[in-house]
Subunit: 266 residues, 2 copies
């Protein structure tokens, strides 16, 4: 049976923190549902930890699937797995994954026609929801600018419901995006969550390649992103509501673009 040192367990526990993830270049995902998504997207963990007593039949089958994929599987006592788990009671299975490194040039690959830019989305739940919607509506890659939550933080991974394994993430700077937009490679649509001036005819979004940029609810998009945008898009709604939740507004816009452009291409 494969075993694991206490030092290694301690390092895995540290993946709950940003500092730990940075030092180790890895992140953890817990629970049957998330790890099933890793299999669906063909992302192999570097290491799989599990505790048979904590897992139902569906989980045992999942462990077999990882074994068939030649993943290193380590069995732990419930107490040991609970000790490194993010929650008080572990879900019985945890994958440790390398943090993928996507280069900015990825973006230029011709299949990437609709891209999401998250600018300073600091709420982990919102960022996770945005990743899930991006995958659902074929926005890929997802660019991260400004003070975004760490996409590999446990709360984001959980809120993404496994979409973290399906989207390519690129941390970048507004200046790099500006260069692309200037060269006419992409059209940038700024989502105006906070009811400012300016609106966009829906048909305007039917261009060949576009970046939809969304900012945080509290701050909106940063000036450096707003000034490179080709247009601003604000969802129409009743005036008795100041704004929508940032993730909800962006989801509605992504679905609208998906429905009107991508859906029709198929």
């Amino acid at each position: 049976m494969v075993s694991i040192t206490k030092k290694e367990l301690k390092e895995i526990k540290s993946l709950r923190t940003r500092k730990g993830r940075r030092a180790s270049g890895r992140f953890a995902a817990e629970g049957v549902r998330l790890l099933e998504e890793a299999i669906r997207h063909d992302v192999r963990p570097e290491l799989l930890l599990w505790s048979p007593a904590l897992l139902a039949e569906r989980g045992h089958q999942l462990v077999q699937q990882f074994r068939r994929r030649r993943v290193q599987v380590v069995e732990l006592a419930a107490r040991e797995l609970n000790g490194i788990s993010e929650s008080v009671t572990s879900q019985g299975i945890m994958g440790v994954f390398d943090i993928p490194q996507s280069s900015f040039d990825e973006l230029l690959r011709p299949e990437h026609r609709t891209v999401l830019l998250c600018d300073g989305i600091s709420d982990p739940g919102n960022l996770g929801t945005l990743l899930r919607c991006a995958l659902a509506f074929r926005f890929n890659p997802v660019l991260l600018t400004g003070k975004c939550a760490d996409p590999y933080a446990p709360k984001v991974v959980r809120a993404s419901v496994g979409a973290i394994f399906g989207v390519d993430l690129i941390r970048t700077a507004a200046a790099d995006v500006a260069a692309l937009v200037d060269r006419g490679k992409f059209r940038l649509i700024a989502a105006d969550v906070n009811d400012r001036t300016g609106t966009v005819d829906f048909k305007d979004t039917r261009c060949n390649r576009l970046i939809l940029a969304v900012g945080s609810e509290a701050e909106g998009l940063s000036e450096s992103i707003l000034k490179i945008s080709d247009c601003r898009w604000r969802l129409e709604h009743e005036r008795c509501v100041d704004s929508l939740n940032a993730a909800v507004a962006a989801a509605i816009m992504m679905q609208g673009i998906y429905h009107h452009t991508i859906g029709k291409r198929n």
Copy 2:
């Protein structure tokens, strides 16, 4: 200066729990943003508690607005307000409101053309987001069936960002909704978050009066609601995602209906 007894403070503290709210028939909303929404929707608290030391200038002005509306205002020491606040550090202002009692017959008023039905939405954040979107896209009233979270729970009130003051809430049973649908008063559209069979042409939703029913992510809609639905609507998205977040999916549908029907009526 108006004062308050310890017994009354204890009762207000109990409004954090469902039991306390039920016993008292009241709920609490904290913070400047939520209380500004109460003023916007012309909902008067029975009592306003504040602590000057904890509040910035914007909050002091808000207290004046409530005073002008002849609301009973009680000043507390920071320690006292923190003691009854839902968070460790109070935001310095708290309103205590009567829980409104809306009757089912409200629903029949002719201005209610689009209605949201939340069936077993147990996540407080999701329920609050749904209320916010319902207000934004003119879905009113909001019907609650099955095991929904208590809409007056602090987490729901907060996630609604004050929409709790703008929508009419009616707790009801599937059988009552069924009677309405049977009599042809409303068309019921079942939101299929969980990728089952069946889809709806968007144009089908352009009927005169409709109820959009949404269930929880985990359970979907209950059979008692599904069997009275006129049609099922599932959002099209990439197959590599099983389902969307329930609140996000419902928000997209509400916006779609708003955009195609209500928006065009104005």
